[in-house]
């Protein structure tokens, strides 16, 4: 029943990390990132990582931490602004970068998890994103073929999860966590609140247990805010 439950990030990632692997990391900006697993991956020293993540964190938080330690060989992202470490390593030729349009990246993960090796999209047709890719006409319009994306490991942050592996996200922290969870050969989920089966509404679960191979409750989430914008109310 609780064979999926681990005590912390280090235990949950034990045996899953190896040099040169591909990791799919949930989150958008710093919102909904698996912050405990990012720290555990840094501490493990695993290197030459290919990481698919919409963003690259900031210099001293999120995936930026793995850039500082030069554990990342390649990023697959849609937007990497807000990270000076990234800029420096990229301009020095120390980091590979594959830009995917945000929706194409999301759909590639969704497809990878759904057994769809390729799909067609209008996104990027006529731009450098379509260069070298197959195109095809449907009903008089040109589309570009994009491949499904899978990874050795998906690292996912959620709000609540049960010990069977059913998972619920909160507000815009859902983002890439759900599609990436489905595309990892192994998927590890860190939650703020781990509960018993039956405590989550079965109509309201965002990620069914079948995708969750390991799960743990993180302690003291920082949940850093990137741009705190407020009004006078």
């Amino acid at each position: 029943m609780s064979k999926k439950v681990y005590s912390d990030a280090k235990a949950a990632l034990d045996g899953l990390l190896h040099d040169g692997m591909t990791i799919l990391a949930g989150g958008f900006g710093l919102c909904g990132i698996p912050e405990h697993m990012i720290l555990a991956i840094r501490d493990s020293g695993v290197k030459d990582l290919t990481i698919a993540s919409n963003n690259a964190g900031v210099d001293d938080f999120g995936l930026g931490l793995l850039l500082q330690t030069r554990q990342v060989k390649k990023m697959i992202s849609s937007y990497v602004g807000e990270n000076k470490t990234f800029e420096a390593q990229f301009l020095a030729g120390e980091l590979e970068l594959e830009f995917n349009p945000q929706g194409t990246l999301a759909e590639r993960c969704r497809a990878g998890g759904a057994g769809i090796p390729a799909f067609y999209t209008k996104t990027g047709v006529g731009t450098i994103i379509a260069e070298g890719k197959e195109t095809k006409e449907f009903d008089g319009e040109t589309y570009v073929m994009e491949r499904g994306l899978t990874g050795d490991l998906a690292i996912v942050k959620a709000w609540k999860g049960d010990t069977a592996g059913n998972v619920v996200f909160r507000k815009t922290a859902r983002n890439f966590n759900a599609p990436m969870a489905t595309a990892g050969k192994t998927c590890v989920v860190e939650v703020e609140d781990l509960v018993e089966p039956g405590q989550l509404d079965p109509d309201g679960i965002h990620l069914p247990s079948i995708y969750t191979h390991r799960i743990f409750q993180g302690q003291d989430f920082e949940k850093r805010i990137e741009f705190r914008t407020v009004s006078d109310g």
């Binding site: 958008f28 990497v80 945000q102 194409t104 507000k171 815009t172 890439f176 599609p179 990137e226």
Partner: protein
């Protein structure tokens, strides 16, 4: 007299219709939300996974799990709904969003758009812009008519890497509202005291009058 930035945003807001689902780009387009009539029901999509986006929170409403696509803290409204990134772009790519209002570096007279990359400078990435211009029903560009160095942004052809080919429907600048059409950029409306000649002088694109 050219439009002010507020007037440009107000003019863009007039293009919205009751019941529209709209995605606003980062920067000036975001401010269009401030000019929507009270009695008009417009629903804002944020491509990181939300419909029914509300304004910035008060200090004690700030929630790290609730941000917009510009990574700014926001609030929810009674009509809000959250979804994941794959669903969000299914919505965008599938043509369900009525309008997107975006900034631009360059627009060509055939509707080509460049707004994500300047080779040689740091490349931040396209984010969701390529998906938006490819999928949204109507793409309106809100931008300064000229670059800071005075060069034209309304061109015969873009020389920066494209965000999308033939994707722009309309352009709003401080000089007026323009539509991509047969033969080039059609003037739909000019700001007060702006002449067709001024538009031609400050554009490289073929300017067509009605």
């Amino acid at each position: 007299m050219a439009w002010t930035r507020d007037e440009m945003c107000a003019r863009a807001a007039q293009e919205l219709e009751d019941g529209f689902y709209v995605n606003l780009g980062i920067g000036m387009p975001t401010k269009v939300a401030n000019f929507i009539p009270e009695d008009m029901d417009v629903n804002f999509q944020s491509e990181n996974g939300m419909l029914g986006m509300g304004p910035f929170p008060t200090d004690n409403e700030v929630d790290a799990d609730l941000i917009n696509a510009g990574k700014q803290t926001i609030t929810e409204t009674p009509k809000s709904v959250y979804f994941d990134s794959a669903q969000s772009f299914a919505m965008i790519r599938g043509g369900h969003i009525n309008m997107s209002i975006l900034g631009a570096l360059q627009v060509a007279e055939n509707g080509d758009l460049a707004n994500w990359m300047i080779p040689g400078k740091m490349v931040k990435g396209m984010g969701g812009a390529m998906d938006l211009v490819a999928g949204v029903k109507r793409v309106v560009i809100l931008m300064d008519h000229n670059a800071k160095d005075g060069s034209a942004k309304l061109l015969k052809e873009c020389n920066l890497p494209l965000t999308g080919a033939g994707v722009v429907d309309d352009i709003i600048t401080e000089l007026g509202l323009f539509t991509i059409g047969e033969g080039g950029v059609h003037i739909q409306e000019l700001a007060p005291d702006v002449s067709v000649d001024e538009v031609r002088d400050r554009s490289e694109a073929t300017i067509v009058t009605q």
